[in-house]
């Protein structure tokens, strides 16, 4: 069993290496949008709106917004990589047709994609975190060490949603629908831009979004709020979503890649 686990992990790691080799070829083009978007948002909304909004729970609006930018980077990195990115590899580039003739199986492909999603989101989330630190937007500077870990944890279930979409769409244009009706609402309504405290209905709905739990964990760490009960709740649900969505995505992708 341990041997099987080790072999499977090694094979999944090869998938990560393959993605890294392709990714680094176009490094600048690959990292720019996921870093530029949160930086722009922070400038336009954080700096622009701060004077009008005043404080939220003792934080300036830019400080309020800051951890959400880490979450945003992680969400978009994970979703675009596992939707458009995976779909292109699967259909137009036939990457898996050849890969699956080697000892690598569908399980390793999916685990490899999740590992890759974790690593990429950790890298990007960490980078945004350092940027926030230099901007003086972190009440708890130590949060920069927690950001990569939480970004990765947040990225895996969001990546699973992307993989599910890849397995279900009939053509590449349909990702736009998934984005408009699922990812965009998750993004705008999960507490990144405004606190959900006094909105009882929305507060309940967002519990079903893994993104929300990641956002909360990032916010708690960035703002230096140590609430063990709340941390356990969000972390627990984030891991539960990771397991549930991850397994579902694996089954769906397996059906697509083996006939």
């Amino acid at each position: 069993m341990t041997d099987e686990f080790r072999t499977s992990f090694q094979l999944a790691w090869h998938v990560v290496v393959r993605n890294w080799v392709v990714y680094r070829k176009d490094f600048l083009a690959n990292i720019s949008p996921t870093l530029a978007d949160p930086a722009l948002m922070l400038t336009a909304l954080g700096m622009g709106l701060s004077p009008f909004i005043g404080e939220i729970g003792g934080l300036s609006y830019a400080q309020y917004l800051a951890p959400g930018m880490v979450a945003t980077t992680a969400l978009f990195t994970a979703f675009f990589e596992s939707s458009y990115g995976f779909y292109v590899k699967m259909t137009f580039e036939s990457v898996f047709k050849a890969m699956l003739t080697t000892p690598i199986g569908v399980k390793e492909v999916v685990i490899g994609e999740f590992l890759w999603g974790y690593i990429r989101a950790a890298m990007m989330g960490g980078t945004v975190g350092i940027f926030l630190l230099f901007m003086g937007l972190l009440s708890n500077p130590w949060a920069v060490f927690a950001f990569p870990v939480i970004s990765g944890l947040l990225a895996v279930p969001c990546g699973a949603i992307g993989l599910l979409a890849s397995a279900m769409v009939r053509n590449i244009n349909q990702f736009q629908t998934v984005y408009s009706f699922l990812i965009a609402p998750i993004f705008y309504l999960s507490g990144v831009f405004f606190p959900l405290g006094d909105r009882p209905v929305l507060s309940v709905i967002v519990q079903f979004s893994p993104f929300y739990h990641g956002v909360r964990l990032l916010q708690l760490s960035a703002w230096g709020q140590w609430h063990p009960g709340e941390i356990a709740w969000h972390l627990g649900l984030l891991l539960a979503f990771t397991a549930g969505l991850g397994y579902w995505a694996y089954r769906k992708v397996q059906k697509i890649l083996t006939t």
Binding site: R18, L100, T101
Partner: protein, 342 residues
């Protein structure tokens, strides 16, 4: 085949227009037949079935491939060749029957099989953005080739396929023939015991085709097992000890190429224009067959002299006069040869 035809009737040699020149490739089997017949089977299929919804792609396929054999799978598009190949390494999950590769069930233990199998799929599926070396290094890793051993192995294989001058070239700059050769290199990285070739030479020019044939033959000389699907009968005759013809998901004929020809379509074939059909019908003798290939009218007779005499009677020279070949067997068994009543 050419030798036998020449021994029977020297005049035929000049008339064997349809038998392509074999050139540099030897057609002699490289593994003695007796050794193969005693060898253990590496692939055993019993009543293998595969349904895609209502469509039955494989309907109870029975076949066996022994170690050291080269087996050709022939059949029209949609006959189930690629589906069966997919079943061998778990890319396609069969819906019935029993299948064993190296004794393992590919539906349950694909990795054990894939560790010992090299596959050249119909599509090259190379990473277009990467260079030749980057692609091969990644695949050596996937195949579990030891890091130190990988580089010399890749270099040897690239040189063997005349690709060593393209090491740093991005895949998208390679020609179709180069990409195909690289797909061969990829399949051979782990020095597999069994090589599976799914239409390996479709769309390639004759020079590349000959090069790949030579590689397959030298690979076989090393005692390896090969399974190849192809639409080229000549390729099947050159490479394979045994041919299995599929039609609509079942085996309709199997045997050594020469034995299949002798069994299914023995004799010689003369091809005439369709305008002579009525006259030919009048001259048909017992044991002769009349059939059509395209708009041409063909007569199959046991002896070459029968056809030479027919030419004289008709006062016309045949468009083609040749010994029966694998294509005749293929067309007959897959029902693509239309007989006189159709």
């Amino acid at each position: 085949m050419v030798g036998r035809c020449a021994a029977e009737a020297p005049v035929v040699l000049a008339l064997c227009l349809s038998v392509p020149t074999i050139g540099r490739v030897s057609i002699a089997p490289d593994t003695p037949a007796a050794a193969v017949s005693d060898a253990e089977p590496v692939i055993v299929a019993r009543a293998v079935a595969k349904k895609f919804g209502d469509f039955a792609a494989l309907q109870g396929l029975d076949l066996e491939v022994k170690r050291g054999e080269c087996v050709g799978l022939l059949g029209p598009n949609g006959a189930g060749k690629s589906t069966f190949i997919g079943c061998l390494y778990g890319a396609v999950l069969r819906t019935g029957g029993d299948l064993r590769v190296f004794g393992y069930d590919p539906a349950e233990n694909p990795r054990k099989i894939k560790e010992r199998l090299g596959v050249v799929p119909q599509e090259n599926a190379l990473d277009e953005g990467l260079t030749v070396m980057e692609n091969m290094r990644l695949y050596a890793r996937f195949e579990g080739v030891d890091k130190k051993a990988a580089l010399p192995r890749i270099q040897d294989l690239l040189a063997h396929m005349s690709l060593d001058h393209k090491k740093e070239a991005p895949i998208k700059t390679l020609s179709g023939g180069m990409k195909r050769r690289l797909a061969f290199v990829r399949a051979l990285l782990s020095d597999p015991e069994v090589l599976i070739l799914d239409e390996p030479t479709t769309g390639l020019d004759p020079a590349v085709r000959h090069l790949l044939w030579e590689k397959v033959i030298s690979y076989r000389q090393a005692g390896k097992t090969v399974m190849v699907t192809t639409h080229y009968m000549h390729e099947a005759e050159i490479l394979c000890d045994r041919i299995i013809i599929l039609n609509r998901g079942i085996v309709v004929g199997a045997g050594a190429p020469r034995a299949l020809i002798d069994q299914e379509t023995p004799g010689f074939v003369a091809t005439f224009g369709h305008d002579l059909e009525e006259q030919i019908k009048a001259e048909l003798q017992t044991g002769w067959e009349l059939f059509h290939q395209g708009r041409q009218c063909c007569v199959r007779a046991p002896r070459i002299d029968d056809l030479l005499a027919l030419q004289q009677t008709l006062g016309a020279t045949a468009l083609q006069l040749r010994p029966s070949n694998l294509e005749d067997v293929y067309l007959k068994l897959t029902g693509r040869e239309l007989d006189d009543n159709d």
